[in-house]
Symmetry: C2
Subunit: 376 residues, 2 copies
């Protein structure tokens, strides 16, 4: 099977795709992103990886910076309206985004286009003409809109523009194929349909699977905080991978390394292997080795010890300050770094922020445990 | 009861309306129309009459020429997409429309605004901002859209802009009250809601009843051909009124002359009175008298005579030519005029066009009957 076909969730239509590849010419492969958040994460890397495969096969990636669409926000999977961003936020996010994307993409085979270039030129009549190619029932059949209607969460009319704009981008750039996450299926199909309506060869659409977040339940997303950022430091990245469940590990390695067929049968060893590969991929070998070594130093003893030191302190501290105060970290900032890396457990659960609400805490940092109770 | 309140189908809210009138200042009373068809008819006259009442009470009419909206077409009551008009057609229709409207409106108390003035200046971001004030459920609850969905007739996305644009017009012109036909209730309410969303005093909305057409069933409309145009000649107008059913007559006189309480108990006499009043209103007294006189001359004998002359002719004629050929009219154009005025019956039914499909016809023109059969 062709490598480009591998690991795709949707491919519409397969026969068209094969015919296009058989032509042997360089294709225009589109992917769009919204500069709504500055940091790319491991979930984006799945898509970027696939795009890179296309580049390595000689094709061109058309990267659409949705600076016009970002002002609206993609309603996909949303259960409420996304707050609009300012022009400055959008520009800043877009710059960070492309810099990060080129950690994976081949810059020499990438064309970057801001869709504000054409949408800023739109007059009212252009909007009318664009909208006239879509029907209300195409919109109403959308799952996410129906869900919101059922939950009495309003869908605002301008949100309906989003998929139409994304479709227009494809037409405007004359792309051969558009790639996205599997939740983008609907938006991608609109592009395919729109190009057909405008008398152009309809784009092929292909989606890649969505990566679940560190929690193993929800889609990885910066706004949920369950993500590994492409800019995370090696140790942080390594620790976060080590914190995922065995089930999530299986999901991740299938999506991230579909070509590697055999993994170590022991979960802990396999997970370390996965963590190493991710750090190696997004940083380099030396950093992957160093991250693993540091993680081993801190976390190699896993059992809950029976003899836990107990201290009484004033609990009016944030968790990072508290950890430093009781001697579990050498400084407040070191404590903060450990919490961020998922290396701190409070009452058996990973600490997610700096807030403390209990009167008695069992805190674990690496191999060190401590029972803390309130003074008063 | 206040005369301005009389004959309205909806008034939202009555208390606001009364408070506004009690202020004693001149109000801005909006009515919009689409220059989609050049001729105004008796149905429009109901609304224009009400607007004139407001003018006579010292208020200003803001007449919105929907030259931007006309490019879309009001989806109200439509069961299919309206074909878009060219800029030239729209301009021509608008000019004819206002000329005709001033047969009833007081020009010195009317402000005319083309909504292209603002919509032509709209950028994409302005459309987004406008749309963001409306929700999909407000649109989905519309009867006409639901009906179309049920009939599998697509609603195109750009049609959804229509009520939003109409609402924006009200905001833009800062109107106090908007008037329309009762089928405009939904669009008018959108304007009220939009002004509220934008932090303005929401417009009051008031609707006038719809006049049924000559057929007594459907709303009067030029495109259905069941209308009396404001530009119809006196005799044509008189004859058309005389052709309506007694039931339609009651409907018309209640809507057109709500203040006249007693009518002649005999239907034919009352109908002649109504016809005379309409011609008097839209032309003048002398023309109303003349039209009645001519109608009486042609139509005073109503019974179907027992001795009908029979002729055999080649039926390869249009109805107007045939009528002239058999001597029922002095010329082809006279015959055409009579058909247009509803004065010709074929096989007991009013002739609506010039086509003939039967092999045997009984034709009545005024008091003259004739049986015609094909030669071959």
């Amino acid at each position: 099977m062709n490598e480009l076909r591998q690991g795709l969730t949707h491919l519409i239509e397969e026969s068209e795709f094969e015919a296009l590849l058989a032509r042997g010419t360089s294709l225009r492969v589109k992917a769009g992103f919204d500069p709504t958040a500055p940091d790319l994460h491991l979930g984006h890397a799945v898509l970027l990886n696939k795009l890179r495969q296309f580049q390595d096969a000689g094709h061109t990636v058309v990267l659409i910076v949705g600076d016009a669409t970002a002002a609206i926000g993609d309603p996909t999977g949303r259960n409420q309206l996304r707050p609009p961003l300012t022009k400055e936020q959008i520009e800043e996010n877009a710059a960070t985004y492309t810099t990060q994307a080129f950690k994976i993409l081949d810059r020499s085979k990438t064309v970057v286009r801001n869709n504000s270039t054409w949408f800023d030129e739109f007059k009212f009549s252009d909007v009318v003409r664009m909208m006239s190619k879509f029907t209300l029932s195409q919109i109403n059949t959308r799952d996410d809109f129906r869900k919101r209607a059922a939950e009495c969460t309003p869908v605002y009319m301008h949100e309906l523009l989003y998929p139409m704009m994304q479709a227009y981008d494809s037409f405007r750039e004359g792309v051969d194929i558009e790639l996205g996450g599997s939740d983008q299926f609907y938006n991608l199909m609109m592009g395919r349909m729109y190009m057909d309506e405008r008398g152009e060869k309809p784009q092929i659409i292909a989606t890649v699977p969505l990566l679940v977040g560190l929690d193993g339940v929800k889609k990885m997303s910066k706004s949920l905080g369950n993500h590994i950022a492409l800019t995370d430091a090696p140790f942080e990245m390594f620790s976060k991978v080590m914190s995922i469940s065995d089930e999530t590990m299986v999901n991740w390695r299938e999506i991230l390394f579909p070509r590697k067929e055999s993994w170590h049968p022991q979960a802990m060893t396999a997970k370390k292997d996965l963590a190493w590969r991710i750090v190696f991929w997004l940083h380099d070998e030396a950093k992957a080795d160093a991250a693993e070594k540091e993680w081993m130093r801190i976390f190699s003893r896993k059992e809950n010890p029976s003899d836990i030191e107990m201290v009484q302190v004033d609990l009016g501290y944030r968790l990072d300050k508290l950890i430093h105060k009781v001697g579990l970290a050498s400084s407040v900032s070191e404590a903060g770094r450990l919490i961020k890396a998922g290396a701190v457990e409070v009452n058996g659960c990973k600490a997610l922020d700096f807030t403390i609400s209990d009167k008695e805490l069992t805190v674990r940092v690496g191999r060190k445990w401590m029972k803390i109770s309130a003074l008063n």
